[in-house]
Subunit: 439 residues, 2 copies
């Protein structure tokens, strides 16, 4: 975790890269929450229902109080769970804990593609995927949601495929990315959409707080198994020294009847290390390099050989295929391209090299290769069931303790799975999509 | 590379672990070659045809001479290539180089299962597989070859499957390994066989030397691309200091019209680093833990869920499934089992834990888990084409420079591929199996 992760990082570009010490950090956080109508650590805002408390930094005193539900992790899965639980069970006292900012700068949420597509969704989960899409469009305010076609390109013909040149013709900026003689066939998901998962997590957490959830940032939490249902949580409130070191300022211990581990790729490790629950989940380190070729809000998302090219901020973000888990003990490292060090891991580099003929801009200086691993954005991605195509899931680890995971398909199915767990905790039988509960 | 890898390690258990300094190392090597009728560095033995020279240590002076073919790596693939090339083209002057002993203690040959089976061999390669089996049985003297059934166990019924209890009934020691209520179905490869790949490599190299090939051990070699066909090789002759450090004693440079990179899992790196040839090959670190449950020479080999259990030396050697490549930069590390450190990598540990119910001895102290990675034998396995089921292959990197790789199916197809390359280098069209050249 870096010092920058100690502050909320969405929509406040003027604080990145961060300057100054603890003083400016605290004041920025205060301004940020104030601007959104939630005074940090104070219940002064006149909202209805009474908003929850927020502890953004250790200067705000925290006295443990009873909670019914404690959520570890305020990425999009934990935040969405909190969002839905406030709707479904407003009587349950809820605390949301997050080690970093909202969302965590080191987490997978910020780097998720934010690409909704029905492709790859099993038939029996399509109703949930469609419900998730409706929620993304309407339930969270402005999260940059927009319908944006996804065009997948192929070297060979096949079912549902048409001409790549024809499909790309209305989109000259997308057409300029592709050698259509190498990839002459295409299929189109006209119902695909894009949005910003980081903005979703922020909106979900903020709305949950407005609806009465408490939230503590910069709080590292560990579950401790209990003899009865639920368990305890040890909370370490983190602070930052003048030399930018993260230190534990104070420690608290809470009990709750329900714990939700929404720790992304860290969830399985926490389940095993803290609770002794062995799982088959795994993780992979995914980098999302930048391709500095122009795009607009109307440029479609492209996909070829597992690589997704997502128009973003006037350029493209590349989302490489995840082929399989990374082994335990793997430390991400940059690869070499014919002797030249790069910031991209070798496996991704090989995939991009293989596509340079079909997608010529990949072979130019427009690709942000970097020189070391820290030059290219990347995050650990949870792989539910240890599978590169694992679907989001929740799972009961012990009585009252639940693991909640997003993973590669969280963009398309994450909200439904978060809702499903919230409904289960709330004791609600109905689901808003056709077909009932997932799995 | 460790100091112990500086000496031949097959059939001389009394020199492991090694004691003493350079003096005893040299004398042991001398005794070893003398006992086999090849005096190191001397052409005194009265063999026909005139045997090649052997340089086992830097005390034996080497003056570069012209070679037609230089092989980098005397594992089973490089040794087998040399063996066949002496048969097919005795006029070609041949040098075999090996960084360690014969075979290298750190290489994959010594830890290969030595399990021949037709399962997993594509239809069009079966003739090669059968030819390889005949060669293993007859061409290399005593390499502990024996027909030994392979019994694969399943939880569910399927094609060609019979009763596990019935298949195991004649083998009480194998039956004792299995809970046949968990794995009630089986199929049997009655034509499977086992042998010792390390003994094969040693026999192939020794026979090649007897037939005129030169051999240098403790010689680290790098290919250097040439402007004409073939290339140059830089040879670093390695020595060991009194403090057991490996040092370069002297360096030579040779030219040859044909270079063969038979460096196992290190081949693709050498191709790219030394020659600038980018390949799609990869590697994985495979550990082969010991299971100390009794077996005999008549005990069949077992397989379940990708795990192979090979009777060996009165116990069992476990050969775990390789699911996929390891990422670049991965350093093998031991995993934890509910907090207890082990020498087995986490992924293998998970596979074994999943099988403990069906194979109860895995859940006992008979399994050699170790405490750190160095406690469990393991080696980097080449994955041709980057695939966990990649077949052995050879490939031309540039004019006269060939990459030769074994990998997961080297036990069954390696000799045919080594022969095929030797025949290609010799200019021989015919192949001794039906169906012609591989691929």
């Amino acid at each position: 975790m870096t010092w920058t992760s100690l502050m909320p990082s969405i929509n406040i570009p003027h604080v990145r890269p961060c300057q100054g010490g603890v003083r400016s950090f605290r004041s920025l956080v205060g301004q940020w929450w104030a601007a959104r109508g939630i005074m940090a650590g104070m219940n002064t805002a006149a909202l209805s229902p009474e908003p929850g408390q927020v502890w953004a930094h250790v200067g705000q005193p925290f006295a443990p109080r009873p909670y019914d539900v404690v959520v570890l992790g305020a990425g999009r899965m934990g935040s969405a769970f909190a969002f839905y639980l406030r709707q479904l069970a407003p009587h349950l006292r809820l605390l949301l804990l997050e080690e970093g900012g909202l969302p965590n700068e080191d987490g997978a949420t910020l780097l998720a593609p934010g690409l909704w597509t029905a492709w790859g969704v099993p038939e029996d989960r399509l109703a949930q995927a469609r419900w998730t899409r409706d929620q993304l469009e309407m339930a969270f305010g402005d999260i940059s949601f927009q319908t944006r076609p996804l065009i997948e390109l192929f070297a060979r013909d096949g079912e549902d495929r048409t001409s790549a040149a024809g499909s790309l013709a209305p989109h000259p900026d997308a057409l300029a990315m592709v050698d259509v003689t190498a990839l002459p066939f295409a299929r189109v998901d006209a119902g695909a959409a894009t949005y910003r998962p980081g903005a979703l997590a922020l909106a979900a957490a903020q709305t949950a707080v407005k609806a009465g959830a408490d939230l503590m940032l910069n709080a590292r939490a560990h579950a401790v198994p209990g003899s009865e249902a639920g368990g305890s949580v040890v909370i370490e409130r983190l602070s930052v020294t003048n030399t930018h070191q993260i230190v534990v300022h104070e420690t608290h211990r809470l009990r709750a009847g329900t714990l939700v581990l929404a720790l992304g790729a860290g969830g399985p490790h926490a389940a095993e290390h803290d609770l002794g629950c062995h799982t088959t989940h795994a993780r992979a380190y995914r980098q999302t390099p930048r391709l500095n070729v122009p795009s607009t809000d109307n440029t479609p998302t492209l996909r070829a050989a597992g690589l997704t090219l997502r128009p973003q901020n006037g350029g493209w973000t590349l989302i490489p295929a995840v082929h399989h888990r990374d082994p335990h003990g793997y430390a991400p490292t940059g690869g070499h391209l014919t002797g030249v060090p790069t910031g991209l891991r070798r496996e991704t580099l090989e995939d991009l090299v293989a596509l340079m003929g079909a997608l010529p801009p990949l072979g130019t200086g427009a690709l942000g290769l970097g020189r070391s691993i820290s030059d290219v954005p990347g995050a650990w991605l949870a792989l539910p069931g240890g599978r590169a195509d694992g679907l989001p899931l929740h799972q009961t680890l012990s009585g009252g303790v639940h693991l909640l995971m997003g993973g590669p398909h969280a963009d398309t199915l994450g909200l439904a799975v978060a809702y499903d767990l919230a409904a289960a905790v709330a004791g609600v039988e109905e689901r808003p999509w056709a077909g009932g509960a997932p799995e």
